[in-house]
Amino acid sequence: MTARIGVVTFPGTLDDRDTQRAVRVAGAEAVPLWHRDKDLKQVDAVVLPGGFSYGDYLRAGAISRFSPVMGSIIEQARAGMPVLGICNGFQVLTEAHLLPGAMLRNTDLHFVCRDQKLRVETSGTAWTADYAAGQEISIPLKNIDGRYTADEHVLDELEAEGRVVFRYAVEGEAADGYGNPNGSLRDIAGITNAAGNVVGLMPHPEHAVESLIGTGRTDGLGFFTSVLKKLVDA
């Protein structure tokens, strides 16, 4: 039996279908989860996909964070279940305080949509075991509220504990997808919790899992194969 990975749909979620597909491409079973259901259908892991849940009203992720499904996910995440938040999903995870910090409007106020170069900083999470620390990957980025912010002491703590998972790779030309696209502090693109089971990032691995479509690269597939391996080994 293969692992069951839940993909949540909130009103305004956009990338749930692509995420379900990425889960299947990696070899797991994708289980749709509905925001009003407390029932997690016995999934082994959960992905919160991107989009504009509740129209980003109030703050991105602020209303979704209080949905019935999130109550169950917060409980299971604290018990160790792997949870990945992509883009709006990352915003939901910070609003739910499963990850520290907050997301703000991009410094240049522009919606950014491009293939983004990232540096993987650690393979020590449930979602990045198939990458090597220091590896550079390219996956799509598309957001306007992507500026990661946290107190200096929180940032220092994240760095000291190896919890910065991805940084925007800045040593290259903007035309090639390098640079900090949104003003995120310390070029942070993704972080994890202390246990390493909860990961959030702004760029979109689920859009880069098949060579035939999208970027033509499969740099995002490792997220889904990493968690699958962890679940099968467990």
Partner: protein
């Protein structure tokens, strides 16, 4: 019925590019002498019954957990007569 107003502002140390964009547009519109603009949110809550200490405490809790994200924002609660 009483109205309670909750003002939510980004903390002073948080960069506010939207406020900056507004500020930069002012000279072009002929408004000089404004050196800084910070943009925030105002919530007007129509409260059933008396706004006593207990009701205000509940509204502060609402503001802290939902209307404001205290990682990046400060809030202020005031009763309008």
């Amino acid at each position: 019925m009483a109205r309670v107003v909750v003002d939510v502002m980004l903390k002073p140390e948080i960069l506010d590019p939207q406020g900056q964009a507004v500020q930069r547009a002012l000279p072009r519109l002929g408004f000089d002498g404004i050196s800084d603009v910070r943009q925030g949110k105002r919530f007007e809550l129509e409260v059933d019954g008396p706004v006593d200490d207990a009701a205000l405490a509940r509204i502060r809790e609402l503001a802290e957990t939902f209307l404001a994200n205290t990682v990046i924002e400060d809030f202020n609660v005031k009763v309008e007569s």
